[in-house]
């Protein structure tokens, strides 16, 4: 087990190193580093000072070492637009993105499981077929377009929900959150639902497959034979068993929710780290881009590592296969 974890940890570190190299080479070699790292409005003396400061007159491998050393100190440069530490700007935006992604995860379970269980109980009913067709549509619909249409219908035409921003926030443990105020909730609902759409389709499928399987199991027959009501059989016995794969898969999908929040945040002007990246790409705010990429790679590597370890605990075949190589 510990061998497995060490192997995976090592691999994760290699991935981070390779990514830092790609990002570094991307910024410094593919483009003009002076152009990329120095504010275009700086004058000649300033440019020369910064070139010396950043060590751009030194050979590439030394520059890379310098970049890595600074990164370890938490210094990934200053934003051109905000004039603040790029890393700090991104870390400040993380709670907004996580709040959105976690709410989407919750919506996926709350909406997906009932529909999936219903479709699994009556696999041939027209209503179930409609649900399944809807879930196929959910996979094919472009997220950003659905977001636009939601704004169109619920904000512009009906005027029920606000279309942009985060609304009123409350501070707990020094972190601003929206979900504790009514205004914040109304702002949170649409973007979270939009982000959740793909995952709702996924949960419907998982829950349906799980329910179909569970309905023929002995424990369900036994529960019925005991004279339990159908509601209790479904809500307690079946639900408990199908929640295992649902929760596992959704845990795996949390990373992809964070990645896709880039799209949703842009549509709904949600002030998270994804929106910050897109704004930085438009403003050519390179330090922010570099810092975002390094942070997101780190987040993903950590998520993947946790998932791998979690999986190897659940399924011994994974670590045995890996040890055999």
């Amino acid at each position: 087990m510990s061998v497995f974890i060490i192997r995976r940890l090592l691999q994760s570190m290699i991935v981070v190193a390779v990514m830092s190299l790609i990002v570094f080479v991307g910024v410094n070699v593919v483009g003009d580093p002076v152009d990329m790292l120095i504010n275009p409005e700086a004058d000649q003396a300033e440019i020369e000072r910064v070139i010396r400061d950043l060590g751009l007159d030194r050979p590439l491998h030394e520059q890379y070492m310098y970049f890595v050393a600074n990164a370890f100190k938490g210094d990934l440069g200053k934003s051109f637009v905000f004039g603040e530490s790029a890393l700090k700007l991104i870390v400040e935006r993380i709670p907004a993105t996580f709040e959105l992604a976690l709410t989407a995860l919750l919506l996926a379970v709350v909406i997906g499981v009932p529909f999936g269980v219903y479709a699994g109980m009556r696999p041939n009913a027209i209503s179930s077929r409609t649900i399944m067709a809807g879930s196929i549509l959910g996979f094919s619909l472009p997220t950003f377009w659905v977001g636009l249409m939601m704004i169109m219908v619920f904000a512009v035409m009906l005027g029920w929900l606000p279309s942009t921003g985060r609304g009123d926030t409350v501070e707990i443990f020094g972190i601003e959150v929206s979900f504790l105020t009514l205004d914040g909730l109304s702002h949170l609902f649409m973007p979270a639902l939009n982000l959740a759409l793909l995952k709702i389709s996924l949960v419907i499928r998982l829950a349906r497959a799980g329910t179909r399987e569970a309905m023929h199991q002995d424990y369900v027959k036994f529960a019925r034979a005991k004279g339990l009501s159908e509601t209790r059989v479904i809500l307690v016995h079946v639900l408990k068993n199908i929640m295992i794969p649902v929760v596992t898969v959704l845990g795996l999908e949390f990373g992809s929710l964070i990645a896709f929040s880039v799209v949703t945040e842009t549509v709904f002007a949600w002030p998270g780290m994804g929106k910050l990246l897109i704004d930085a790409l438009h403003n050519l705010d390179r330090p922010i881009i570099v810092a975002y990429l390094m942070i997101i790679v780190l987040v993903f590597v950590v998520i993947n590592l946790i998932v791998d370890i979690f999986y190897s605990v659940l399924d011994p075949r994974v670590r045995l296969k890996d040890a055999g190589q």
Binding site: Q11, V15, I22, V23, G26, V27, V30, G31, I136, L137, F139, S140, L141, P142, T143, F144, W145, L148, M149, I151, M152, V156, S163, G255, S256, A259, F260, V262, V263, T266, V267, L277, I278, L281, H282, I289, L293, I296, V297, F300, N304, Q325
Partner: protein, 302 residues
Amino acid sequence: MSEAIEQSAPAKVETPLQRFVSDYTDNKISVLAFIVLVAIIFIAVFAPWISPTDPYDLAKVSIFDSKLEPGAKSMDGVTFWLGTDSAGRDVLSAIFYGLRISLGVGVMSGIIALCIGSSIGLIAAYYGGKVDTLIMRIVDIQLSFPAILVALILISVLGKGVDKVIIALVLVQWAYYARTVRGSALVERNKEYIEAATCLALGNNRIVFRHLMPNCLPPLIVVGTVQTAHAISLEATLSFLGVGLPITEPSLGLLIANGFEVMLSGLYWVSFFPGIALLITIVSINLVGDQLRDVLNPRLQK
């Protein structure tokens, strides 16, 4: 391969192609999806000739026709079935031209990714050992990141432009092809015809590309259709975010982004209809891919 089957089978038995067609047409929805897809490809190829107006000819577009509702008529009597945008361009014509660009970018990146990915997959399967382990580790690591994230990383490193978007889409997709081909090539590699080819002392390249490759095609075709739909969707997303194609190449994603600006003042049609076009394209490709998977799957064949 098909020739061999034809020769060994009695004359009355239908050819593989006939069987393929009859299997495919079993499902009516798949037939409909195929017809829709052919129509979309037709529109994309012949857009300049069948569009009601040329939306990018500045001499013909009139600002007086701007923001017209669907079905309204222009000053010269042309009907705008899907309305016009804020610059007076016909939305229907813009969709025709947009399909051309969206499909073009999607299909081109798909083909390049297929060539690169399947070659790498074949190499991994044929040589095995350390080469295989290394390639598949890279594939695994890449696939553990969502496609949109990989694309965003590449776009931020490469910059904007049509070529950059295609490169990004290729790099996002190659791993899927590599994995698919490796999977089926590993099965094929141990079959007698590869052994026979090896005994004939044919070159490695010849064995891999002339003998192994054609037999790995069916799953590749299925992955190809699904991945192309994915690429079209991803390009639209990137273009919508403003980090994809430049405004000189107005794909469906850019049309939707363009409509976003005027949507809050109630002009829903400018981004609604391009989105519908995108949706129909993606759904029809996915449905065709789904049916191909069932038809080409040897385990499901009688």
